[in-house]
């Protein structure tokens, strides 16, 4: 294979891996949107909050340490050397479930049957509230997150791909981050298990039922509140997975909440209501922006990754506003 082709393949592979990361965030959006018609702006912050909480448990941080120290004049920061990663993950999941309950109890319950825009505004408020809460609980500094997923370039893949190039070419092989590969595997597992859950369990069917028709679901004995708590819990769990992946890659920091914005073009491509759409949309955006940067970037001064996804989404909106996999919008006249 010519080196040029190998380079393109490498760029595409890295694009796919980046795309998986976008998909993970987009997935959380889709879950909540499907079940309750709410565009949850706070999904990105939920990922940040989950990652912060996980690091906090892992390292044995005292929650609200800063606040406690200011009020009582103490100097506590850590209560132990930290917890085992597995225990920390379980505790974080419990925190996310509690959060889901609180969101339902104090936010959704009071906003039932209001305009979608009002619910959307409420989630913007929620996003900033949670950002502040995360800051207050665990501190604002950048934290390293290590849950034991291997990372760094794969030498094996480098060696394999080196042999693909012509012998005389000066080619070192392809770079791929093992962490990204793990992220891909985990994302696939997550999607498969969520799909199975929604197909073959009573709660899964109830989730789909509520997404389809609130009133009919009620007449079958399905409590909307319970379903909302479950959906937000699952979205919290997905946020945790996304938070772990992004946090392992680039540290747990507040810019992590901004990845939520990259999920927007992903959703426009994939459709707001489709789980496979979120995955495919993420992949298209990931590959698209990396290839664009590789080919067109040098011609127009680079840094195209900042805007490419949004422009692609804009073009998409003109031709297929419901997204690739979204339900077709048919207006009765």
């Amino acid at each position: 294979m010519p080196v040029e082709l190998l380079n393109v393949i490498e760029v595409m592979l890295n694009g796919l891996m980046a795309g998986i990361m976008y998909s993970l965030v987009a997935l959380g959006f889709v879950l909540i949107y499907k079940a309750s018609g709410i565009f949850n702006y706070a999904q990105g912050v939920m990922a940040l909050f989950a990652a912060l909480t996980l690091v906090g448990f892992q390292t044995g941080q005292v929650p609200f340490a800063h606040l406690i120290n200011v009020i009582f004049g103490t100097h506590i920061e850590y209560w132990s050397d930290g917890l085992n990663t597995f225990v920390a993950i379980i505790l974080t999941i419990i925190v996310m479930v509690i959060l889901a309950y609180l969101v339902e109890r104090f936010l959704l319950r009071h906003l039932v049957n209001t305009e979608p825009i009002i619910l959307f505004m409420a989630t913007i408020g929620l996003a900033y509230f949670m950002e502040g809460l995360g800051d207050l609980m665990w501190g604002a500094n950048i934290k390293a997150l290590n849950v034991g997923i291997p990372s760094g370039g794969s030498f094996w893949w480098e060696d394999v791909t080196k042999t693909w190039a012509p012998a005389e070419a000066d080619y070192y092989g392809m770079y791929i981050d093992v962490l990204d590969v793990w992220a891909a595997v985990i994302a696939i597992l997550l999607v498969v298990s969520l799909t199975l859950f929604s197909q073959y369990t009573k709660t899964g069917r109830a989730l789909r039922a509520v997404a389809d028709d609130h009133q009919a679901a009620l007449t079958l004995g399905i409590s909307l509140r319970t379903i909302w708590v479950i959906v937000w819990s699952i979205a919290g769990f997905v946020a945790l997975v996304a938070g772990i992946m992004w946090g392992s890659k680039s540290g747990v920091q507040f810019s992590l909440s901004l990845i939520a914005l990259k999920a927007l073009p992903v959703l426009i491509l994939g459709g707001f209501t489709s789980i496979p759409g979120a995955i495919i949309g993420g992949l298209i955006i990931g590959v698209g922006e990396k290839l664009f940067e590789y080919w067109i970037g040098p011609l127009i001064g680079g840094a195209t990754e900042n805007w490419f996804a949004y422009v692609l989404a804009l073009v998409f909106l003109m031709f297929r506003p419901q997204g690739l996999f979204g339900e077709k919008i048919i207006e009765r006249v």
């Binding site: 369990t201 009573k202 899964g204 069917r205 389809d212 009620l218 079958l220 004995g221 399905i222």
Partner: protein, 263 residues
Amino acid sequence: MDAQRTFGEPILEVKNISLAFGGVKALTDISFDILKGEVRAIIGPNGAGKSSMLNVINGFYHPQQGEIWFDGQKRQNLKPFQIAKQGIARTFQNIALFKGMSTLDNLMTGRYIHMHSNIFSQALWWGKAEREELQHRQRVEEIIDFLEIQSIRKTPVGRLPYGLQKRVELGRALAAESKLLLLDEPMAGMNLEEKEDMCRFILDANDQFDTTIALIEHDMGVVMDLSDRVVVLDYGRKLADGSPDEVRNNQAVVDAYLGVSHA
């Protein structure tokens, strides 16, 4: 139909129900009962309050006055999903199926109140969740056979023709195995053949599954054939109550509703 059908005690008693939306009175002082095992029709001209009555029974609306007794007990103000759990299922005038889901999944969702495995068991699909899934699947297959919809088991219901959607909706309500089944215009918009099929299913459901049925229907022929007793509403008030023959011969009903000439 048997000439002489006998029924048990009332499954539902509606006592002096009044319902108003602001200044608009939808129902005024309505009382009637539904006996275990019977097919009870609620009829009346458009805007008579039939659908409001059904919505009161299944808890979408809460009446300002009056009492509802269900299965021998006075009912408190419950939410619709709690009432469903007590054993009242319903269908809608404008079909309210889960359109993206298959016929099978729609009916399985109908089994919701009878499934009790916890979420962890479901998440792992292990133990009770698995057993329950198979056991209820069997029950649902029986209903599918009963309604003769085997061929559309896996079809997303949004793609089905109207008449079949109505049938699936009946199936979903039957799957709930409720003590009382409310049908809001089960035959609206159907052609003659579909109506005959639906009539047969309703009568068979009443007979084979021992389901007590209350239905709203516009087609008078259907009402007279199907029902054991009929209550007639007009302008939110009860006009008449009795057997189809009694109602048919009631002059007030004829004037208000049937609108036939007095020849």
